[in-house]
Every structure is written in C-alpha cells, then in structure tokens.
C-alpha cells in the first residue's frame, strides 16, 4: 500500500525534558497513513521517547500530538494502535499462547484459539507456542512482542527495533512480515531500527531525528537520490578535480563528481576535450546509511553535496 494523504500521527513542537536533558526538542512531525514509516536516529535521538509519548506511557513537557485524530494518552486512540517498544518482557510463568490470550482479554476480545494460533504461526512461534516465556531467547521475545502488538488488529503499529537479537533468517522473515502488514493488511507501520539497510529495504518514508529534533524527512527514494554522484575512473585525477572545481573529491584513482544527472554528458564531453583518459564513468547513489551519517553529524560529506541534498529533500 502506498502512503495516502491522511496522517495517522501529527506532533507539534513536542518537547520532553528530563531535568536538563531535552530528549525531544520541539519536534513537529506528520506521519502519513499507510505504508512503512521509518524513524531513525542515533542512540539518544529521541525515538523511544517519541514512541512512549504517542503510547501515553509518558507525558510531553510541551507541545501537542494527535494519534489518528485523537489526543495522545487516551485509550480510544491507543486501543487502535499496537506497539512493541524495545525488547518486550512478559510474565515468565505464562506460555506464548497464554500471553496472547491474556492480552486479547485485556483488550476486550474473546479468546480465539484460531486467531492466536494464526499470529503465532505468522511470527514463527508455532513450535514454541506452549512453552513458558521464561525460556525464550531475545529473538523469540521479539517475535512474541510483534504478535502481541498485532493480534488486536490495530490500524497503526509501532515497532521499535523489531529485529534486535534475531538471526539473519529471522531478520528476513520479520522484514517480509512488516512489508506484508502494510501491503496485505493495510496497517500503517512505524519502524525504528539501527539497521539502516533494513530500513532502506522496508520503509517508504523516513524521518531522521538527532538530539530530539527532526533533521530530515522524506521518501527513501528522494533521500537516497539526492546524494547521487558520478564516479569517474580517470587520469589524471588532479586535472579532473581542477575542471570540477569544488564539485569533485578524490577517491583513490577516481573522482566523485557531485553534479546533477543532466550535467553528466556535458561533463564527459568536456573531460574528453581536455584530454582526460576516462576508464569508467558510473552513477553511484547515496544509501540511507550515508544520508543518516551526514545528517546526524557522524561523518562529513562535502558541503555542496549536503546543501544540494537539503534543497532536494
């Protein structure tokens, strides 16, 4: 399902302070209905604080937020959401099946063995369904947490690091499940993950938070295309850098040219006219990781590339 024009979450100037620490600092964000929306940020960026406010677990210090049109913290809003915040924990004396029945009952649903079994199967816990939770690995707890978040058929689900502690096949299964939630079930999924490749593969749109503030927001394709550069394997490198002015950076025996795609042919003609030997020329896109690193200040990209990315974003 592609994102629609309706928003499921809107925050305005949302702020949360813990003493002198501003976990969220005037965050204004609109999350559209449908699709998978990624919320990215380094540790301490404010992702979990944002989720906890949306779920009514904590109150904001300032600002407002609505969830599907309802005020945050109201049960009418939170009952339409499912969530898994960090590694979930459950009463250790219960089995996976009992956990789901318990939470269904808490939600006002009648115990339905077919539904319970269906969700346990969908998250890959069929064989462990009647085992006590106290013996579960982190990955199994994550799977059960996802089932607990989804079994009440919410319209919106928040998954915070859903693949944490999972093995690679488990991560693949979870990725497929998340996409199917959006595409098959029509659920809006909000996903936080440190695995940026996973986010890039799964999410339609992302917001990047840093120090409690929104630093970038947009579709994954827009964000990654704005960092696109022309990689030229050329001789001599110095001459090409001179021709490009400030738009080129050396990368070994190659040059990365930060120019729009439309200027590519003209540049190549100019280089040939100037007697430059071109072994190879290809466009390389910026992946989400490089965008994330740039926006959160982890590494520096050339200033003009950053500026261009901001204008395009």
């Amino acid at each position: 399902m592609t994102p629609s024009a309706y928003s499921v979450i809107e925050t305005r100037n949302l702020t949360k302070t813990y003493g002198a620490v501003r976990a969220l600092d005037g965050l204004s964000l609109t999350i559209p209905q449908g699709g998978v929306y990624g919320v990215l940020g380094p540790n301490g960026a404010g992702k979990s604080t944002l989720f906890r406010i949306l779920l009514g677990l904590i109150r904001p210090s300032e600002g407002e937020a609505t969830v599907m049109g309802g005020a945050i913290g109201t049960v009418s809003a939170t009952r339409r959401m499912g969530s898994m915040i960090e590694t979930p924990r459950f009463p250790p004396f219960m089995t996976a099946r009992q956990v789901l029945v318990w939470l269904s009952t808490a939600h006002g649903l009648k115990a339905d063995d077919a539904r319970t079994s269906g969700w346990l199967d969908r998250v890959g816990l069929t064989e462990a369904a009647d085992r006590k939770v106290r013996g579960f690995s982190v990955g199994m707890l994550q799977r059960l947490g996802v089932a607990a978040a989804l079994m009440t058929e919410p319209e919106l689900v928040i998954l915070d690091e859903p693949t944490s502690g999972m093995d690679p096949p488990g991560i693949q299964e979870m990725r497929a499940l998340i996409r199917s939630l959006a595409e098959r079930d029509g659920i809006t999924v909000i996903l936080a993950s440190h695995q940026l490749l996973e986010v890039q593969r799964v999410c339609d749109r992302v917001a990047i938070l840093n120090r409690g503030r929104l630093v970038r927001e947009g579709s994954v394709s827009d964000l990654t295309s704005t960092g696109e550069r022309l990689r030229l394997s050329v001789k001599p490198v110095a001459k090409v850098l001179e021709i490009l002015g400030g738009k080129g950076v050396a990368e070994g025996s190659a040059v990365l040219a930060a120019i729009p795609r439309t200027e590519g042919p003209a540049l190549l003609r100019a280089l040939i006219e100037q007697g430059v030997d071109i072994d190879e020329a290809r466009w390389v896109g910026a992946d989400l990781e490089s965008v994330f690193m740039t926006e959160t200040g982890t590494v520096q990209m050339p200033e003009d590339v950053q500026q261009e990315a901001r204008h395009a974003g």
Partner: protein, 286 residues
C-alpha cells in the same frame, strides 16, 4: 472495560501457580498438618497416661460442633500468618507489572484507573477464595481431630451463630483487603514487589506497638483519633461488637461507627491515592 481488566488479571493470576498456592492453599494446609500433628501427639500422650494410670478416666471432651468451628475459623482468618501469605500473592499481582515491565503491554488497552481496579477486583475474589479454603481447612482439621480422639461430630448453628459467622467473615475479609490496599499504594509508590509485601507488614507491626502506647499518649481506645489511627483497633472493636456478650457490651456507644469509618478510610484512602498517583505515573521503564 473494567470487566476486561478483571478478566485479564484473573486469567494471568490463575496461571501463576506458585502465587495461587502461597496465597490460597499454603496456610490452610499448614494449619491442617499442624493441627493433625497436635491431635496425634495428644492421642499418643493420652494412651501413654491411660496405660500408666488405668484407674483415671480421661475426658476427651464432648462432641465437636462444626457450626461453632466455622464461626471460630471465620473470626481467626485475619491472623498474621494468613496476612503474610496472602500478601505474597497479592504483591505479585500489584507489583508484577512493574517487575516484568508489562505495563506497556496493558496500559494502551484500558484506562489506568480500570487497570488498578481490575487488580483490586481480583484480589477481593482471591481473598474470598482464601477465606473459603481456610474455613474448609478448619472444618477438615476438626473432623480429623474428632476422628483421632474418638469424639462425635455434630453440626448446629442457630440464628445468632449464623449472624456471627457472616459478620466475622465479612469483617475479616475486609480486614485483609484493607492490608492489601496498603500494599497496592506501596507498589505504586515504590514500583517494588518487596515493598508491596513488607510495607503492610511494617504498618501492622507499627500498629501493634502504637496500640500499646495509647495510654502513654493519653488516648482512650474509643477516641476518634485512636480508631482512625489504628485500623487494627477498629477491627478489634467491630469484632467485639459482632461477638457480643460481655466483651461487646463493654464497647461504649458510638465507637462502632468510628471503627467502621476507620475501616473505610484505611481501605478507600490508599486505593484512591494509588489511582491518583498511577494516573500520572511515568511508565517509560515499565
């Protein structure tokens, strides 16, 4: 919505077999075993005395009236040992969501007031169940004792006995609930299971010493302050009134009302404070 909270808490508590055992079954079983051992010892001692002094006619007592046995068991329910073990199970119910970090799973599904009231609802039923098992255990103990000592068993309960049985049952049920309310407040304030268990016990011990200190403080047991300050004293007052006879008659007029007010204040007060605090509590760690 409240019904959902009660049902889900009941479902979860029923799966916590250890908590159910300690709360409902352990003390009656303990008393039954201990009572049986005492009866065995008594029987053996009597046989020994009879063999040494055959001329002595050992009176083993008259028939065992199970009706009066029920009344006595009901009056003895809220004893320190029952309180301790009921509190063990109740503490897991009140503080379990802090301990297992499961508030985040349930708080999105119901109002916070309902979530706490759901726990209180289950606790009330669990204490009623504990009372029922306690009464059954008492009956079983008396039947076993009677069989061992070759005493006949009867059952008679007149209107007065039935009223006493009902009065003691309700009073002792409320008395234990009142203690668990202190446990609830302790759980919400401290988010700790141990606090939910030990704070009510500390309050009980404190009350015991304070009751001894009333004369030093220049207070009479029938004073408003004494009754309000000491719910244990208030419960004793009501127990004496239910018991009637010379003990009940010694209670001055109007003290019963003070005792009822004390019982209500000590039950509703901690519950209201718990809900008020829980409504605004930061549950980010739970």
């Amino acid at each position: 919505m409240l019904a959902d909270a009660i049902l889900s808490e009941a479902y979860r508590f029923a799966r916590n077999r250890m908590a159910v055992f300690w709360t409902v079954l352990f003390v009656p079983i303990l008393f039954l075993v201990f009572g049986t051992l005492v009866a065995l010892f008594t029987k053996a001692r009597m046989a020994e005395i009879a063999s040494q002094m055959p001329q002595v006619d050992l009176d083993v007592g008259g028939p065992v009236n199970l009706g009066l046995s029920l009344v006595k068991s009901a009056a003895d329910f809220a004893n320190p040992i029952v309180l301790l073990f009921v509190l063990i199970g109740v503490a897991t119910l009140y503080a379990g969501d802090y301990r297992w970090e499961t508030w985040r799973l349930t708080s999105a599904r119901n109002t916070r007031a309902n979530l706490l009231l759901g726990k209180v609802g289950v606790v009330k039923v669990v204490i009623l169940l504990a009372l029922a098992v306690w009464l059954i255990g008492g009956l079983a103990g008396d039947v076993i004792k009677a069989a061992m000592l070759a005493r006949p068993v009867t059952f008679s309960m007149d209107g007065g006995d039935a009223a006493q049985f009902l009065g003691f049952s309700v009073l002792m049920w409320l008395r234990v609930i009142q203690f668990t309310m202190i446990g609830l407040l302790a759980a919400v304030v401290t988010r700790s299971l141990l606090a939910a268990l030990f704070v009510p016990l500390v309050v009980a011990i404190g009350q015991f010493f304070l009751m001894q200190a009333l004369p030093i403080l220049g207070l009479e047991p029938g004073d408003w302050l004494s009754q309000l300050m000491l719910p244990g004293l208030a419960a004793d007052t009501l127990k004496a009134l239910i018991e009637g006879g010379p003990t009940g008659a010694s209670i001055p007029d109007g003290v019963g009302i003070k005792a009822v007010v004390s019982l209500v204040v000590w039950t509703v007060g901690p519950l209201a404070a718990s809900i008020a605090l829980f409504q605004r509590q930061d549950l980010s760690k739970e």
